[in-house]
């Protein structure tokens, strides 16, 4: 035990302590705070599940069920990087993988400079909590100029053989200049299990690098899921985030993207599906800090039962960020009378020569279109699925890894069949 403690470098200890002191000072957020107005996390605070570490019996099967053939697989189980469940046999040239614990001990290049450095944890109490527990996780380094064709798939699982647990998974991606890679992160747990996943992923996109990041959140329907994805994009860098959100009883997904170099481009798309009395909260923050950057944001929600959704899309265009072109769209379909959404675009524009548009639309399934499809012979369920597929299609089309797309789509439609009851 003593040896492990000694292996932790001073910088990491210092960052943990900063996270701990910040979380001690602010605690769990409350609905009195603007950013948490519609999302009460008291069920998370009250349940106080103990911290989990390492493997549990069902972990291997859960990983198998979501594995993407032909990818580099990185398994983070209860926050710990597990090389024995990972698939690292065919690591392409220019790709380096490090467990955070081992990497910190071995003083891996770039870790000290980057880890917990891409964003301000003061604005993110759950990220502060995650950082206070920072022990392991996985780091992905893509060398300058490397074009990685093989998808990189991070499988994040939480669970135990005993009761409900908490995990704080951590991921760091550093993409060198002119590099390219596609990274997917799947969050999964035992169906029906209660647990709390509190994830942080940091992505550093170098000059002219192109990084696609896919989030497949398919946690147990009884889990709590809080995740924070933070990216910084350097000049002419291209970053895209595609989120497919179908799991958890209470979900809060924060995405922060800082366009820190001229000519950077980002896409931030997502589709979420919820039923029952589940809550899906997405908060995005886009920081246009430099001139000539473009951003495209499209979120689509499908809500049944008494499900609730929150979408908050913040875009800051700083004084220097002239010629910014930003577009944000949020659309939601409510399939029942009791489902609700709070949608809030939040544009803060300080530059004067910019193009920023936003639009939000909430509606129901188009009954005339449903009748048209049915009048040609499709059942109501077939017609609905076709309509919902079309609705989500724009976001699903962003999935450029065929095996992953197949998996995400089949999960999506299995959940529709299970969850979303039609009004007759």
């Amino acid at each position: 035990m003593e040896a492990v403690v000694q292996a932790v470098p001073a910088w990491l200890k210092e960052r943990r302590e900063r996270g701990a002191s910040r979380f001690a000072a602010v605690g769990f957020p409350t609905v009195r705070q603007e950013d948490w107005r519609f999302t009460s996390v008291s069920p998370i605070a009250e349940s106080a599940f103990p911290l989990a570490r390492g493997l549990f019996t069902r972990a291997r099967a859960l990983v198998e069920a979501v594995s993407v053939p032909g990818s580099v697989r990185l398994v983070v189980c209860n926050g710990e990087f597990l090389p024995e469940l990972s698939e690292l046999s065919t690591l392409p040239k220019g790709l380096k993988i490090a467990g955070l614990r081992d990497g910190a001990r071995d003083n891996a290049d770039g870790l000290e400079q980057r880890l917990a450095k891409t964003f301000d944890i003061d604005a993110h109490p759950f990220a502060a909590l995650n950082t206070s527990q920072l022990d392991d996780g996985v780091a992905v380094f893509i060398a300058r100029g490397a074009v990685i064709e093989t998808p990189i798939h991070i499988v994040t699982i939480t669970g135990s053989d005993a009761g409900a647990v908490t995990s704080h998974p951590r991921v760091l991606v550093v993409a060198g200049e002119h590099s390219q890679a596609r990274i997917a992160q799947t969050f999964v747990g035992e169906p029906g299990a209660r647990y709390f996943t509190n994830s942080v992923a940091e992505v550093v996109v170098g000059d002219s690098a192109v990084i696609d990041f896919y989030t497949d959140q398919r946690e147990s329907e009884n889990a709590f899921h809080v995740a924070n994805l933070q990216a910084t994009v350097a000049a002419k860098g291209v970053f895209s985030s595609h989120a497919f959100l179908t799991g958890a009883r209470i979900m809060r997904h924060d995405i922060g993207i800082a366009l820190n170099g001229e000519g950077a481009d980002c896409t931030m798309n997502g589709v979420y599906l919820a039923d029952g009395d589940r809550l899906m909260d997405t908060h995005t923050a886009l920081d246009h800090a430099m001139p000539h950057c473009t951003s495209h944001e499209l979120y689509k929600g499908i809500l049944g039962g008494k499900a609730r959704a929150v979408f908050n899309g913040r875009i800051i265009v700083r004084l220097d960020a002239q010629k910014t072109d930003a577009k944000q769209t949020n659309r939601a379909l409510l399939l029942s009378d009791e489902a609700t959404i709070n949608s809030n675009p939040q544009l803060e524009i300080f530059a004067d020569d910019v193009k920023c548009t936003h639009g939000a639309a909430v509606g129901q399934l188009d009954e005339e279109a449903m009748f048209y499809l049915m009048a040609r012979g499709l059942t109501r369920v077939e017609a609905r699925d076709m309509m919902l597929h079309a609705f989500a299609g724009e976001v699903l089309d962003g999935l450029t890894i065929p095996a992953l797309r197949e998996q995400i789509e089949s999960n999506f439609f299995a959940l529709l069949a299970r969850d979303v009851q039609l009004k007759s």
């Binding site: 048209y372 499809l373 049915m374 040609r376 499709l378 059942t379 017609a383 076709m386 079309a390």
Partner: protein, 253 residues
């Protein structure tokens, strides 16, 4: 084929059809004419099972089955087809993908094997050729951004692929130029057969120059006020609907 008796239909608490009787035998083409607001389209939509059209009285027997008891999708799988007056634009739903699903739903219902993508395309290409329709329509979203004429041609194309037993064309001629009208008429004529019946709803006689009906009916104020052969349509064109309307008004009071 179809036997409609005393059909009364309400839309938004307003009675539009006030007792329609119509018998269509296999192989026949019936034209349903009438002025605006007479109930022609209501009859078409009620036969297709539109949920906004509430049947308050009467019966409709289709091939021995109670048509009114079936959901719209069951009617379609049983071979009832309605060409929409206003085909709905459905962004994101691929026209060919949808049509394949619709055809296979019908085939499955008939106990036939479902067609795979290749066999389906074979069927589709053949129909497109007969109808002189461009195949670019296939890969677009259903009706999205289609011109008025394209929408109507697409309806006829769907009909040709689905090969219904009873086809109801709801003002398919409205807004069409003469070339598009020909495409529609040729499509219908090519499909006429002793086993298939058509109800052609139209405001104008013009379409009936190309699709020659066996019977013509005139609807006015929710009832069929005149029935006859093809010559009735010509008479209507000459004299206008004013010719039948006073009689209808008189009959009501």
């Amino acid at each position: 084929m179809l036997e409609v008796r005393n059909l009364k239909v309400r839309v938004d608490d307003k009675e539009i059809l006030r007792g329609v009787d119509l018998v269509v035998k296999a192989g026949e083409v019936h034209a349903m004419m009438g002025p605006n607001g007479s109930g022609k389209s209501t009859l078409a939509r009620a036969l297709a099972g539109h949920p906004g059209y509430e049947v308050t009285d009467g019966t409709a027997i289709y091939q021995g089955h109670d048509l009114l008891d079936m959901d719209p999708d069951e009617r379609a799988r049983e071979g009832v087809f309605m060409a929409f007056q206003y085909p709905v634009e459905i962004p994101g739903v691929n026209n060919a993908y949808f049509l394949k699903a619709a055809l296979n739903a019908r085939r499955k219902h008939q106990g036939l094997d479902e067609l795979d993508a290749m066999d389906f395309m074979k069927v589709v290409k053949e129909k497109l050729k007969v109808l002189h329709i461009d195949d670019s329509m296939l890969q677009r979203s259903v009706n999205e951004g289609f011109s008025g004429g394209e929408k109507k041609r697409n309806e006829i194309f769907h009909m040709a692929v689905l090969e219904p037993t009873l086809a109801v064309l709801d003002e398919t001629d409205s807004g069409l130029d003469i070339d598009a009208l020909r495409v529609v008429a040729d499509g219908v004529n090519a499909m006429r057969s002793p086993e298939r019946s058509f109800v052609v709803v139209t405001h104008y006689q013009r379409l009936l120059n190309y699709i020659v009906p066996d019977y013509v009916h005139v609807l006015s104020d929710g009832r069929i006020v005149r029935s006859g052969g093809r010559e009735l349509a010509l008479e209507l064109e000459e004299k206008g609907y004013g010719w039948v309307e006073p009689a209808a008004a008189g009959a009501r009071k």
